[in-house]
Symmetry: C2
Subunit: 250 residues, 2 copies
């Protein structure tokens, strides 16, 4: 999907507040996505006409923890990580959101403010709607609510899994699991394995696995020597997924 339909229009815009309305969004953008898949053409058209589309550079924040939840979002393309920041400034990544999912749906869980910060991990294209439309979407569009709550359920499960992992596994296993999850969500097949399809640093991985960038670096170096992974700056390729699976289950 990267680079099709809606891309190429807007230039470098200010990450502050600028919103660009794209010429005309195509129905096919949404019609195959779970929350909208049961809708007919006209309904999707109506939804798209209410949407604002915007591009985010890698590292830009889509919304911030604690600020009033005035819009909800659909990640069309790219990758977003949801982070929380501790009083001491440490970042912890709660989960990753792949393209095709809703985010910032505070209203669905009865919140008036976003409970976490969403940061584009790669360049991303995001649709958004005013939160005021939420109830209308739920009421008018068949399957929207159901699919939304499935998404929330999955995220609850994911976070729960993180808790269990952090409680019971060693760093090496957590990193292995994190990599496996990343390649399953955004893996791109390359000659020597599966590459994570967005730039990711040792620091990012450490925030995802509750460790330090140093330890992640050491782990990856060791794996590279064994031929399990290959990595350049900000790029990681998993060459032997099965070996990681084995490692992660020790």
């Amino acid at each position: 999907m990267r680079g099709t339909a809606i891309c190429g229009t807007n230039s470098n815009m200010d990450t502050a507040a600028a919103r660009t309305v794209f010429p005309r969004l195509d129905e096919s953008l949404l019609s195959h996505l779970p929350p909208f898949s049961k809708l007919d053409r006209q309904q999707v058209r109506a939804i798209l006409d209410l949407a604002v589309s915007r591009r985010y550079d890698a590292g830009a924040s889509v919304f911030e923890e604690g600020s009033p939840a005035d819009r909800f979002y659909m990640l069309l393309d790219g990758y977003v990580r949801v982070v929380r920041i501790t009083p001491t400034g440490e970042q912890v990544t709660a989960l990753h959101i792949p393209a095709g999912q809703l985010l910032g749906i505070a209203k669905a869980i009865g919140k008036e403010a976003y409970p976490a910060t969403a940061i584009a991990a790669a360049e991303s294209i995001v649709l958004s709607w005013p939160m005021g439309l939420w109830d209308k979407f739920v009421a008018d569009y068949d399957g929207f609510a159901t699919e939304t709550y499935k998404t929330i359920g999955n995220r609850l499960g994911e976070v729960n899994t993180r808790v269990v992992e952090m409680a019971t596994q060693q760093v090496e296993q957590r990193v292995a699991n994190a990599l496996l999850r990343l390649i399953s969500q955004t893996g791109r097949k390359v000659s020597n394995g599966i590459e994570i399809d967005f730039p990711i640093t040792r620091q990012d991985l450490s925030e995802l696995t509750a460790t330090t960038l140093h330890t992640v670096s050491r782990v990856l170096s060791a794996w590279e020597k064994q031929g399990l992974v290959q990595s350049k700056r900000k790029r990681i390729t998993v060459c032997d997924p099965h070996a990681l699976v084995v490692l992660s289950q020790v």
Copy 2:
């Protein structure tokens, strides 16, 4: 067990917990609880007449991870902990549920099976309904859905907080936070402080804070010497909550 049965004489349940036959349930049981607070007397009556009531001994499981989600529950009295069990048999407590909350609401998050096991931490009284009634409740009863999703939102927030804590805090701080949360949820004022109002072992606390019973024991012993807590077997009293707050934020 179908229909209008209001006693706990259903037979397809597993554990050895004794069952108590209740007299006709009173509307006041539910009318002040968030999911039902907007309903009138007749509606609450109708809901109660569909409910099955049951008592669980401490340690008995209300439902188990992976089994088909055929009922949803309301914890009337007592305290339930939600745990996940790893392949290697270790238990990790995901969250605690105080009286007055729904649990086992898999349907709300689009699941067909319970995603975790619920264990009564203290003797508990639980109402339940067949999951088939879920959609009816959502459709017929004003505020039921909204309040349910608030509950889910809060739990998501809670689990997220656990992740952040486990990622950034030392054992001592995690235990302090766990105790503070427990006394805020089920604290009972006693002469020398606030006691956690259900039996809780070092092992339980360790499963809640991702550590070992030994370490918890050491931490509590140290605190007891400093007069912050007092503990007997299965009983913990926090004498100086403020000191714990300070400790937890180092």
